[in-house]
């Protein structure tokens, strides 16, 4: 089922949680709402669920206005960050809850409920735990039960609030993969909230990057990673090195070096305007000797070997700023640099951001 969010605003006192936000989610997709805390992603999810009312704007489910529908009527499955499993009920009763509270006319016979719950427990690989209480389960297991409980009422949309937030790194990874597989099996429109870019990029079909109550970019994981719409998205999706510079025709002056940006030609940006050039750690090229004017001299401060890659922490000689560079192990051995030695960072493959201009 497709979801349409139109011009939603939401304030908490003086704080603007969502600012005139619109979003289209096609049916059957697994979408991530990604953003730092306070970006409004959870508020948006709760408004879609009907747990929160927007101050203005409209929500439509498959073309039907749902703005004033209560959460119970919207047919959404909501998985809470801390699972919110009912502690006084067994796993079985938790999953059966949504089926048992239906009005008598719609309620399924007991035998059908039992069969359905067992089928769901099988789906989430928890069929042996039917008689346990939530307090006897691990975090990952609780998450699966919360999911089975939400799926029991056959929701049209599945909403997950930080579904992996409270789990340790290994369980997180497993569950992430498993949710992706589950979605490929049952194809229910799903939206999950996360602040972890890796999680969003790995699991989702589409990523909605949010900041300050607005959407910064919507796209496939590849699109947002490779072609970030702006500096925020670029910064949020991974480590980044920033170079403050000034515009000079179609060149940017960074420290004592100059880099040519052919794309600046014809944009008529006034000289001396502040520009920010940026590159990810693996995009920096590090050399033992300078060959060219567009290199920055730096000193190696730390060397960290993480599996097949080597991370260098560099300190610029010109302004004392720090840079992160990531090399392959082979390249590092070729370089033969040690802590305290001098290297040159070639400014290439940079992206550029000039305030007020779209580049």
């Amino acid at each position: 089922m497709s979801i349409k969010v139109e011009h939603i605003t939401k304030n908490y006192g003086d704080f603007q949680a969502l600012k005139d936000l619109s979003l289209d989610i096609p049916g059957g997709e697994l979408v991530a709402l990604l953003g730092p805390s306070g970006s409004g992603k959870t508020t948006l999810l709760r408004i879609i669920a009907g747990l929160e009312q927007p101050d203005s704007g409209r929500i439509t489910f498959h073309g039907e206005d749902a703005t004033s529908q209560s959460v119970g009527k919207r047919q959404v499955g909501f998985v809470f960050q801390h699972y919110a499993l009912f502690r006084n009920m067994t796993v079985f009763e938790n999953v059966a809850f949504g089926l048992r509270v239906k009005p008598r006319r719609e309620r399924l016979p007991e035998s059908v409920i039992r069969a359905k719950v067992h089928q769901l427990l099988k789906l989430v690989q928890m069929e042996w735990y039917a008689d346990r209480y939530p307090s006897q389960l691990s975090g990952g297991q609780r998450q699966r039960i919360a999911l089975a409980r939400a799926l029991a009422v056959e929701p049209k949309v599945l909403l997950l609030d930080e579904p992996f937030g409270a789990l340790d790194a290994k369980v997180r990874k497993e569950l992430r993969r498993w949710i992706r597989q589950l979605h490929d099996e049952i194809h229910i429109t799903s939206i999950f909230v996360t602040h972890d870019q890796e999680e969003a990029l790995e699991v989702a079909d589409r990523v909605v990057v949010m900041n300050n109550g607005r959407i910064e970019q919507i796209g496939t994981p590849e699109e947002v990673y490779e072609h970030p719409a702006n500096l925020f998205v670029y910064q949020f999706l991974g480590d980044i090195n920033l170079f403050q510079g000034r515009v000079d025709g179609n060149r940017i002056k960074v420290g004592n070096s100059e880099v040519a940006f052919p794309e600046l030609a014809g944009m008529a940006i006034p000289d001396d305007k502040t520009a920010i050039a940026y590159a990810r750690p693996h995009e920096l090229e590090v050399y033992g000797e300078s060959h060219g004017e567009n290199a920055i001299e730096a000193e190696v401060r730390h060397v960290r070997v993480i599996g097949p890659t080597v991370r260098l922490e560099l300190r610029r000689r010109d302004n004392g700023g720090y840079l992160d560079a990531e090399l392959s192990k082979e390249r590092f051995h070729e370089l033969k640099v040690r802590v305290g030695e001098r290297v040159f960072v070639e400014l290439r493959n940079l992206k550029i951001f000039v305030e007020d201009y779209q580049i």
Binding site: V71, F80, A84, N88, F97, V101
Partner: protein, 275 residues
């Protein structure tokens, strides 16, 4: 045999202190009741505690206390709910007022209630018109015992309700539960342990209450005479052993009832063993 080590230090002193304290404050005085009763022969004891007047007082005391605690169980829950869930002007004042039945001399409460409910009192006047008599009837005893037990249920439920995460209610609502279903299946089960505690406290308090009841009940033998009053009457007639005999039986029944409530709670706690 190896001594098992506990992570918390001072198990020995702590237990020793607890036992001494309980002995001094609780067990020795209770044992005196027991010892004093032992000076009676079995026949006199049996005759004393099965006297129809005594039996009638037991019935009234336990029944009225149970009713009072039940009324507080229902309305205390409601009060706690309102105080925790809603914001309204004067809330703080009402919250503070709730503890007054603890602070007030019980005789004052008794006189106030009697004045209100007697035939020409503010309430009694109108209740009389519809044929309900409160003062000087067993109903008056229930009213007094409800009054003095009010704070218990409210005060035990309040903190639990405050800590109850809103997520549980939202989860129930998102699964299609009505408000009543959410309350009866999700919220109330979470409150049961503290609700039972509050009920037990109110019940126990009502059993021992004397001061407020004697004014409103009229103390008619066989009809509105509560056990604590009967004990006092015996004492005034210097029948000390008779008084302790009645007290002993009351103590044993109370203990059994409170034990049952405790076991109920334990069973409930084990069922949803928190981690």
């Amino acid at each position: 045999m190896r001594k098992t080590q506990s992570i918390l230090p001072g198990f020995g002193p702590a237990l020793g202190y607890t036992l001494t304290y309980i002995s001094l404050v609780l067990l020795i005085p209770l044992a005196m009741v027991f010892l004093k009763t032992l000076t009676m022969s079995w026949e006199t004891f049996w005759r004393t505690v099965t006297d129809p007047r005594v039996l009638a007082s037991y019935r009234l005391s336990f029944l009225a206390s149970f009713l009072g605690a039940s009324i507080n169980g229902i309305f205390g829950l409601l009060l706690a709910w309102v105080l925790v869930r809603y914001r309204f002007p004067g809330q703080r004042i009402i919250d503070a007022l709730l503890d007054l039945p603890f602070a007030m001399p019980t005789a004052v409460a008794g006189i106030a209630l009697t004045t209100l409910y007697s035939t020409n009192g503010w309430f009694g006047r109108y209740l009389e018109n519809i044929g309900i008599k409160v003062a000087y009837t067993p109903l008056g005893v229930v009213v007094a015992l409800t009054f003095i037990g009010l704070p218990f249920v409210v005060r035990t439920i309040q903190p639990v309700l405050q800590d109850l995460d809103k997520e549980y209610e939202e989860a129930a609502a998102s699964l299609g539960a009505s408000r009543w279903q959410t309350f009866s299946r999700v919220i109330f089960p979470a409150l049961v342990p503290s609700w039972l505690t509050g009920f037990a406290l109110a019940f126990a308090r009502a059993l021992g209450e004397y001061g407020s009841v004697v004014f409103i009940s009229g103390n008619m033998p066989m009809r509105t005479e509560i056990t604590p009053l009967l004990i006092r009457t015996k004492l005034e007639q210097f029948d000390y052993t008779g008084a302790t005999a009645i007290a002993l039986v009351m103590m044993i029944i109370s203990f059994i009832l409170l034990l049952i409530i405790n076991l109920l709670q334990n069973w409930n706690r084990r069922r949803m063993a928190s981690h």
